[in-house]
């Protein structure tokens, strides 16, 4: 056999094995969650907060964690968006030229992206002490915002970098200012990518336990103000798994199932949205 044919064969097998491993682990994870969690899924799980003795196997649900997670992830995603979008537009429209400054910003963000979330948790905690904040929804949101900003900016940045120079020039040549070019052309051109970046960030925020542990805390109640502590699904899973009661451990898997479905729903709806957008707009 010719050498390139052997190479091709080996590569082919390797690719299939790798794909197989990924698919298998994905299916395995999902199957475990469904298998262990589904029997404990109930209307109560998603519609009630923990009642007395919930962690011993008595009645209640994880509505506190569902709502808490949505508040935390939603709040931090919105806050991060307000910070990220201007930075991205600044890097890509206002400072299109390659400068030492933009290289510096990009590599700083890449480093921040790589920092483990527990470090953000600890940093958030120090900030809280500094400003005299208690564990609260607000502190959790701020910490999560710091965690997801690098992800959001770099994800948006990557799609903005793909905009051809000629498109900017076309907009400028029609007399558009940089601001108009940024808002009317650059954002529209990359909207599907921007939505994806937002969702990746939301997914990261909704799934993170370490950064909210010290900052948002945990509570059985649904927070009614920013200054109250807030529960979150990852921590609810963690606490329930930590009990020796099989009933409660089962509910941990049910909570994991809820978290997975939440992320799935968001990811599917975004896909639907971007598809429709691509079809009709660009």
């Amino acid at each position: 056999m010719k050498r390139y044919k052997i190479e091709e064969k080996v590569f082919n097998v390797l690719m299939k094995v790798a794909t197989g491993i990924i698919l298998l682990s994905l299916i395995w994870i999902l199957a475990t969650i469904v298998y262990k969690g589904l029997p404990y899924m109930s209307w109560d799980m998603v519609s009630r907060t923990p009642q007395g003795g919930f962690y011993m196997g008595k009645e209640g649900g994880v509505l506190n964690a569902i709502v808490g997670s949505l508040y935390l992830a939603g709040g931090s995603t919105i806050l991060a968006l307000f910070i990220s979008l201007p930075v991205v537009l600044y890097l890509n429209v206002y400072r299109r030229k390659k400068s030492a400054f933009s290289t510096f910003i990009r590599s700083s963000l890449d480093i921040l992206w790589g920092i483990p979330s527990i470090v953000y948790g600890a940093f958030g905690f120090t900030l809280m002490l500094l400003f005299g904040l208690k564990t609260s929804l607000l502190a959790g949101i701020i910490t999560l915002t710091l965690l997801i900003i690098p992800i959001m900016i770099r994800a948006m940045d990557e799609v903005m970098l793909t905009i051809p120079k000629g498109l900017f020039e076309a907009s400028y040549s029609l007399g558009a200012t940089r601001f108009e070019t940024a808002t009317k052309v650059a954002i529209r051109k990359t909207l599907p990518g921007i939505v994806t970046a937002i969702l990746i960030s939301f997914g990261r925020a909704v799934g993170d336990a370490a950064s909210v542990l010290f900052t948002a805390g945990f509570t059985d109640n649904i927070p009614t103000s920013l200054s109250q502590p807030a529960a979150s699904l990852p921590l609810a899973i963690f606490f329930q798994l930590g009990t020796p009661v099989p009933e409660v451990q089962g509910r941990a898997y049910a909570s994991a199932l809820i978290l997975t479905l939440l992320i799935l729903a968001i990811s599917l709806s975004s896909r639907y949205f971007t598809k429709r957008y691509l079809k009709n707009k660009i």
Binding site: Y172, T177, I282
Partner: protein, 265 residues
Amino acid sequence: MTAKLKMSQSDAACAEGSICINNLNVYYGDRHALKNININLPTRSITAIIGPSGCGKTTLLKCFNRLIDSVDDITVTGQVLVDGDDIFAPEAEVTDIRKRMGLLSQRPYPLPMSIYENVAFGPKLHGVKEKSKLNEIVEHYLKEASLWDEVKDRLNTPASRLSIGQQQRLCLARGLAVEPDIILGDEPTSALDPISSHHIEQKFLELKKEYTIVVVTHILRQARRIADYLIFMYMGEIVEHGPAKEILENPKEKRTQEYVKGIIS
């Protein structure tokens, strides 16, 4: 005193819709890309800039609407007068300058929006709000670019669905809709099929009655077909310029002769 007098003379010579260039030098970093360019472009006619690739044709064109501003590490010295205004003067409004010119680039870049919105983009930016007025503008300029019949039933579909040739005509319509006096083209037919190229060339021949047109081209035959006035550039300099016929049939400079004969390309 004499300097001032000279200035006003050159200002006076620069009539509406014309471009006058005095001692223009452009450097990319240390690279001297345009060397002492001095020329007045005639109004209401087609000027073609020819020359081998890398000689500075695009650079010169980008000076006219100051797109050159957004290049890294650029230095521009000298004067470019458009309608008598020095466009590199500190008080010059870059958006106003660009409004006076439509640009066709090497390949079309439709804006990420519908056909209708592409044409309405400029007028909207510059303050036209009424829907009926915008409809009128869109129809008028799409007709002007001979695209109306092909797109009138699908004005709201994305511009990216059009063929490349249609997209280039859309870009023409979009540029005309800001009501410029000058049309700039940077090898505007190089990405197009022969029929679309022909379309654009015909359009230019019609439009020159009302507009000053400057086209960069590396196709000599195209220059022969459409140009009234010709500029031959070589390594950042203008070697020769004059009425197209003269340059093509009777070039004075050796380098022009060689280029026209196809020896250097």
